[in-house]
């Protein structure tokens, strides 16, 4: 007889989400639904009628962790719609921004994921805030990596969060030779730190893979060897930057994308029959209550070739670098493997940058309303923005953000895991829920069938 347990809210990630899990007598998840309960932002509707310059700025406000990805994806979606090609130096600046964003985002994820992990060789869970070594120097390193990423983002983007410098047609300003040197110095320092941090984190994740149990709520929970495995596909547009409909060979295909309503995807109304008062933090939802995922989920369910897919670091490594490790730890390790690449990316781009080069296209057309899309490989995965711009005004705008893709995929990855470890799987996706919250459901003919499903 299966029972239903609800973990609401889930913790140590961005945004508000919850887990509704149907578990068997041994506490193993038979069906898991992980859903966003963040209120709908409405950015796509706000965008309509605004100028194409405004919309990327508004879109970036959807969240404060990867605003760079949203700014770049939205800006490039506008450029794709109006068919505007930007100068090479502007592209290089954007590339630096992209890498800087990923650098500080991975560092943040380290802090969020470490408390689930054990110090190798001990049964002590890691508290990233402890003053004791070796954790203290790791925490300081994480802080410095975040500082480096954000400072580089600040120099190139104008702001560390919500960059002001990118604009439709390129960038507002190029940087000074001194700023270029500063970025170079920071990236060199970051590369060494990222390397050390990557080694530490991978050893911690490998240690978790080898462990037989993890302590949750005062109990020793067995860790299955296939924790977080799923058989869904992967979707990635590029190893680092992205793709857009302006490319000669685009690597994302809008015709392969469909979306279904949460009503048709998630579980119906369920009574909560299992509770655990000791589950951190503050226990699970008390038994007797109701959970209704199909009504409560605040996201659509995007499908690629009719299936949910995984996006993110592992999707990039699988697609472009023959990575093959599955499971929650495989995903965590894939993320760490991207660490150093961000600094190398910055170094290469800043080397190629001409600080006297122009960064704004000579001509910025107003657009004729044709569809343009840009897929940006945000830290959490492929962030696709689609836009139709006519006479400088946005007629239609849609954001298909990474965690929206990962919600249904991760839900499937929960099956077979002890319910107490469900959050470990969720955190491996580094979820960023706010921006994932949209309600725009289209049927096979791309007709909008449900705008909003809220009671």
């Amino acid at each position: 007889m299966s029972k239903v347990v609800e973990i609401s809210p889930t913790t140590r990630h961005e945004g508000h989400s919850k887990l509704v899990l149907k578990v068997n007598d041994e506490g193993i998840v038979e069906r898991g639904d992980w859903l966003s309960i963040t209120p709908v932002r409405g950015v796509e509707k706000l965008a309509i009628g605004k100028t194409m310059e405004q919309v990327p700025k508004i879109a970036s406000r959807v969240c404060g962790i990867c605003p760079i990805a949203h700014t770049l994806a939205a800006t490039e979606a506008m450029e794709a719609s109006i068919r505007c090609y930007i100068p090479e130096d502007a592209m290089l600046l954007r590339y630096i921004l992209q890498c800087a964003n990923r650098l500080h985002s991975i560092a943040l994820h380290d802090i969020l994921v470490l408390p689930d992990m054990y110090l190798p060789g001990t049964d002590t869970k890691i508290n990233p805030f402890t003053p004791e070594e070796p954790v203290r120097s790791v925490a300081l390193r994480i802080q410095r990596l975040r500082e480096i990423g954000q400072t580089i983002g600040e120099i190139v983007g104008g702001e560390a969060i919500h960059p002001s410098n990118p604009r439709v047609g390129g960038m507002y300003k190029n940087i000074s030779p001194r700023a270029k040197q500063k970025i170079y110095d920071l990236a060199k320092e970051g590369r060494m730190l990222a390397h050390a941090q990557e080694e530490f984190m991978v050893s911690v994740f490998r240690n978790y893979q080898k462990r037989d149990w993890a302590e949750v709520a005062g109990r020793q929970i067995p860790i299955p060897k296939d924790l977080g495995y799923h058989n869904q596909g992967y979707m990635a547009a590029a190893p680092i930057y992205g793709s857009s409909s302006l490319d000669d060979n685009p690597t994302w295909f809008p015709e392969r994308w469909t979306e279904v309503r949460p009503w048709d995807w998630y579980m119906g109304e369920e009574e909560i029959t299992l509770e655990d008062k000791d589950y951190p933090v503050g226990g699970t939802t008390p038994a007797g209550g109701k959970a209704w995922p199909q009504m409560q989920a605040c996201t659509g369910v995007p499908l690629y070739d009719g299936q949910p897919v995984e996006v993110g670091p592992r999707a990039r490594l699988v697609t472009f670098k023959n990575y093959d490790e599955k499971g929650a730890m495989g995903l965590n390790i894939a993320r760490e493997m991207e660490y150093e690449g961000t600094c190398y990316g910055i170094l290469e781009a800043v080397d190629a940058l001409n600080t006297s080069g122009k960064v704004l296209a000579d001509e910025i057309p107003g657009g004729d309303g044709s569809l343009g899309w840009a897929a940006n490989e945000a830290p959490r995965g492929c962030d696709v923005h689609l836009a139709k711009v006519k006479d400088g005004k946005v007629r239609w705008f849609s954001m298909l953000v990474p965690t929206t893709w990962n919600f249904p995929t991760c839900s499937r990855a929960l099956t077979g895991a002890p319910w107490e470890l469900a959050e470990v799987i969720v955190r491996a996706y580094d979820p960023c829920v706010s921006c994932a919250t949209h309600m725009l459901v289209v049927d096979e003919n791309k007709k909008i069938v449900a705008q909003k499903l809220l009671e």
């Binding site: 600040e154 702001e159 560390a160 969060i161 190029n174 940087i175 000074s176 700023a179 040197q181």
Partner: protein
């Protein structure tokens, strides 16, 4: 207290002939920034540089002495230097920023440091803030009217403007000197200046102006610990020639008088505004 808090006050002028040549008075700002740049105390300074139009300043980030020299001299109209403050720490890549400005701009700098709303990562990067004495400022159109209509000189031909001895002076490149009484210029002042209660940049690290010292010299107030460190190093390095302020004429007496005049006059505007409208007095921003 009309002169604010200060550690020392001296009469000074630069020892660098090149700086003095185009300087308004003692070349204090240019010299101090040049010294700080050379010593790595600052990476660059936000100054009122030249623009496309004559005598219209445009804020610029000077990172070399040549750029500082290009910005020498007082331009009696608005230069929104604070607008570059954040950008200096961004695309210019500066870690230690020098900034010069009027008393209100010094207030803005300190406010940005205290409440860095929209000024993320800026407060700790301000390495030297030099304030200048200011009675009031003019919009560019006012300077056009004063110089071209009242002084009858083309702005392009003017090489120096000055305010002193109760008059506004314009010197042309061919040696002509025009002067008009200051009271003629009053109506061209920026109305916003009439609520300001600071004459001598109380919040700067170092503040300076011509009032109180003979021609070619400047009065310098060293106000903060940071300002004192830099000033003392510059003196040791021989950047400035100084005199005791008590030995020069007209001395601090005149500075005090003008500061008191400004505060008294502007306090009246503030009082008037406090009772302006029907039961809707404006709040005094200084209280």
């Amino acid at each position: 207290m009309v002169l604010g808090n200060y550690k020392t006050c001296v009469a000074a002028r630069s020892t660098d002939k090149e700086i003095l040549k185009g300087a308004q008075d003692g070349g204090i700002v240019t010299q101090l920034f040049a010294y700080a740049l050379e010593e790595g105390i600052i990476d660059g300074a936000i100054v009122a540089g030249p623009s496309d139009e004559p005598w219209k300043p445009e804020p610029m980030v000077a990172t070399t002495k040549a750029e500082l020299l290009a910005a020498r001299g007082t331009k009696y109209n608005l230069s929104p230097n604070i607008s570059l403050l954040k950008e200096a720490t961004r695309s210019y890549g500066l870690d230690k920023v020098g900034i010069v400005g009027t008393p209100c701009q010094m207030q803005a700098v300190r406010k940005a440091q205290l409440y860095p709303v929209g000024m993320r990562d800026v407060p700790d990067k301000i390495a030297l803030a030099i304030g200048i004495f200011c009675m009031e400022n003019f919009p560019y159109q006012s300077i056009e009217a004063i110089v071209e209509d009242h002084c009858n000189q083309k702005l392009e031909s003017v090489v120096k403007m000055d305010i002193g001895k109760g008059k506004f002076w314009a010197y042309t490149e061919r040696g002509a000197v025009s002067q008009i009484p200051l009271k003629v210029t009053h109506k061209y002042e920026q109305p916003g200046c009439h609520v300001c209660l600071d004459y001598v940049s109380n919040l700067a690290d170092v503040s300076t102006g011509s009032v109180g010292t003979p021609d070619g010299w400047s009065t310098v107030f060293v106000r903060t610990k940071n300002g004192e460190d830099i000033w003392n190093k510059a003196i040791t390095a021989g950047c400035f020639e100084t005199k005791d302020i008590t030995t020069v004429k007209p001395g601090l007496e005149l500075v005090t008088k003008l500061a008191t005049d400004k505060i008294t006059k502007n306090q009246k505007t503030l009082d008037a505004r406090a009772s302006f409208g029907v039961g809707k007095g404006l709040r005094n921003p200084y209280l």
